[in-house]
Homo-oligomer: 346 residues x 2
Amino acid sequence: MNEFALQCPAPAAPDRVQLAHGGGGRLTAQLIERVFLPAFANPALRVLHDGAVLETPGARLAFTTDSFVVSPLEFPGGNIGHLAVCGTVNDLAMCGARPLWLSAGFILEEGLPFDVLERVVASMRDAAREAGVAIVTGDTKVVDHGKGDGMFINTAGIGTVVAPTAISPRAVQEGDVVLVSGDLGCHGIAVLSVREGLEFEAPVESDVAPLWPAVEALLGAGVEIHCLRDLTRGGLATALNEIATASGLGITIEESAVPHAPSVRAACELLGLDPLYLANEGRFAAFLPECDLERALATLRACAVSQGAVAIGRVSGASARVDLRTVIGSLRVLDLLSGEQLPRIC
Amino acid sequence: MNEFALQCPAPAAPDRVQLAHGGGGRLTAQLIERVFLPAFANPALRVLHDGAVLETPGARLAFTTDSFVVSPLEFPGGNIGHLAVCGTVNDLAMCGARPLWLSAGFILEEGLPFDVLERVVASMRDAAREAGVAIVTGDTKVVDHGKGDGMFINTAGIGTVVAPTAISPRAVQEGDVVLVSGDLGCHGIAVLSVREGLEFEAPVESDVAPLWPAVEALLGAGVEIHCLRDLTRGGLATALNEIATASGLGITIEESAVPHAPSVRAACELLGLDPLYLANEGRFAAFLPECDLERALATLRACAVSQGAVAIGRVSGASARVDLRTVIGSLRVLDLLSGEQLPRIC
């Protein structure tokens, strides 16, 4: 009340879950604030970061979970199995934690072809090897035909925090530079291209990849990292909004500096999509002091997964808002979407 | 080839996932052996226990996961939220670990009424409080109407192992006594009663409850615990078969000693169900040396959740098989079911 009403002038059923509640945008944030945070209130959850940091005797651990419901299950450059491993490994990396162990929970729909399951599991095996994690515990459930959609996968992950200082939206400071680890939007367009049967001249492949090697390199180079965020559901714009809200600081980014592959730009123009909201599964944003920028860029560009790293903006003041300086020099507010442009992208 | 064919003389599509692959019986075991174990091979997974035990500097941790797809979402004595917390807490307890932290991953179906979600989340909050765990990280996805079934929940859990020796099927020894913590089958009958619209004279409520208090009491009393197993999907018979297989030892139980509420027995007779395969969500079996039996029973009976504890049998030799001594004195082999009597029970 009623932001909700303002966003959806004539909601069909405001007392029911809508697709947009899962889109990572405003309705997801409202769902978390309204239902989950009050019920599960505890300090680790309240940080609203990609994972929880837990103190145990002798080690600081990061703990995180993600469910994957991408449709279709397979797309150019990957499948739901790659996503399920990389997504959770990357959430740990965003906490400054070396990923160590994963759990895997499968919800299979009756009738799923075994060869699809086997391809997905093989991708999980390969992605886990690449990321240096072991899948140590799991669970399988089967639901009746028509009560699922092929398969859903949940992974939870544990890592050891190796970053010397807390990496968190709350550590962001005025004057920090913002950089991204590469060109944005490939995952979103890759999934969309299969879903909608689109063909582009240059096929767009998902960027799905484990990000820990890039984060480990930054830490190894002694870069003072204030905040990291992988740019999944809702893309760059949503991630920056979450960080602006959590830190209470404003962020200004330069539209001309945000990298997109030409094929992604072309697809967005054709389809009327804003590339700043497109999902990525192998890209992250980093916030760090300006004095460390050159070292950070050089370090990231030496890693395969982040060779396209560039600075795109800076933390600019106490507005808790994200501004985009457009290519013609004007400023526009980059807000959360009510829903998401592409549901079920991960 | 081809036990599979023997079990299903005319399978409609042997190259597709069937409901029975999720039942916890023979097909589930085959799925794990055929698909998951070869791909994810590592020592922690290979133990095939309820959770993985992980060595970190300063602590031994237990890590486990479960997805919950119970239908209907609410049933006498609980709902999917109780199950999601207790199921994972209990898997940790079965590793001799004090449950500490949970993750929660929600897959919601578009159109789910918010009041159902709120009741489920409130139950998770209450169950987490009762079990002494914090839900520290989470994730929410929404799938289109018709691509889910109200809601599915995954929880993963971390606990610290406090048992002084490894609690595992491999620690079971010839001569061990087998006991169960209370009467069996209430959860299965409670869910079935709603699903099938059955009414019994005495309504049967699910036994769903956190089991750590009972395990903690056993450890506190100095009982030497060899193995613990909660008796969920597939019930007592399935759990004992898994332990017989993993330990390579035979188990003989006395039919007359296995406790069932009269209403559960009556429902089973009416419906043609075998109560030994009914699911429980607040009952476990324990394997321990005979010299500790009396102390174990006295300790368990002093805990609310295990006040109905009784001895039901013993580990009898190197047959890797479960035998049931019937009330008329004959022996019958208690085998794994191909599927499960009641799909989607948890």
